[in-house]
Symmetry: C2
Subunit: 242 residues, 2 copies
Amino acid sequence: MSNNANSLFRPDLARCRNCGVRQFALFNNLTDEDFKLVHLPVEDLAVAKRGILYNAGDTAQSIFTLRSGLIKLVHYLPDGGQRVVRVVRPGGTIGLEALVSETFSHHAEALQDSELCRIPIAVIEKLDRESPRLHKQVLNRWHQAVVESDNWLMQMSTGTARERVARLCLFLTDQETGLCHLPGREDIGAMLGITTETASRTIAEFRRRGVIEFVARNVFRPLPDQVRAVAGLEDEELGAAE
Amino acid sequence: MSNNANSLFRPDLARCRNCGVRQFALFNNLTDEDFKLVHLPVEDLAVAKRGILYNAGDTAQSIFTLRSGLIKLVHYLPDGGQRVVRVVRPGGTIGLEALVSETFSHHAEALQDSELCRIPIAVIEKLDRESPRLHKQVLNRWHQAVVESDNWLMQMSTGTARERVARLCLFLTDQETGLCHLPGREDIGAMLGITTETASRTIAEFRRRGVIEFVARNVFRPLPDQVRAVAGLEDEELGAAE
DNA sequence: CGCATCTTTGAACTGGTTCAAGATCCGTGG
DNA sequence: CCACGGATCTTGAACCAGTTCAAAGATGCG
């Protein structure tokens, strides 16, 4: 909320060009020309695990790019339960609806400690008008959101509990380390449309059958072939955004 | 594919302004100014029930606005089964991905005889560049797609079979007539992630319990309060897009 | 009329839920 | 440093919604 123009936040977009977050970052392919157009502040922002980025209905004046961590977008059900509608990984864009709506339409909560960039919609709107490149980027982002939404439905709401958990493992596996940080069982339930008990049991079974190896609390090393087999896909790619 | 500039299709966008499809139509709030920018053909297009609008992977050179009927967007599963990812009602936009991708990413098939407008992406891109109004519209449409995708997940992939079928009834009920045209049981299954048998049984049960009244083959009159009660919502609105 | 397709219904089976009791983890304060 | 208490995770057993397999009606079309 507070628009502190103080030293806490790195100003300007200059840094964006060298952003560690590869192709994904919203501003990745802008020219110097483009950057000259903007002098509005882009804030660095950290959200701790379990922290709320925003709630549904909050007035929306910024969109966010996720640099590291993991954010879940949630709808609360009439009965008080929750359903995870999508999970955003580093490089993803969060809260695009700010560009067309007064308020956010989900609850955005961190599943892991996360770092983000908060970009005021004024910046986007200006660039959107004046830089064809960014304009295309924005449309792309939106497309991305639809694609991910559809995939989420396919992957996480279709098939047996075993298949879903396996797909979630693949989705959450870091290509670099080959490790998979699972969220709490309750979150898993809300993502897959199953109960926490079933989530727990299924994971236990995977461990017994050697589909995944225990590494640390809620951290596992999936055996790729095994997991894929259980997930019911043999060739499809999953995980790599884009 | 064939760009017949012959008499078969109404040219120009002049008609769009008076389009029967109310607020929803993509070009609803353009000015005369805007319209003057375009002279490219907008084709009328009819697709019969079970007809294919496009397949996943088809080269995408147009987007579509649905004037009447009902279109399902489908993903085929590795095992040959299908999953309905979204259903578009009159006023909705189909194939937006054409604006950012070479190809369509779903299969689009008519659940009922449907009438659409095919709009070449060149038209959209031109207007998008030159008319801020349409530009906003396009973003809005994209937002709409995400919202509908999320809702679809919530409504059709959450809760018991009874709840899902009830929600589908509400979704498909025409406010004008109060009637609900249900698609084939197999389609219902693919929409709700249940088997055709369960779909059939559930509908039969609804009939017995007087939740819906039989009108004609696959046409029912839902008792609104009853259905809502079963759907597990008492106050929420469902159905009215926007 | 006759064949193909779709829908309904039945009955056995099963994956997942539910409810309940332990086990494990973790922060807190003594 | 350890012991306590709350939260989360695991496991068990009974139950039930939904699946599966199979067969009998409908419906529509040439």
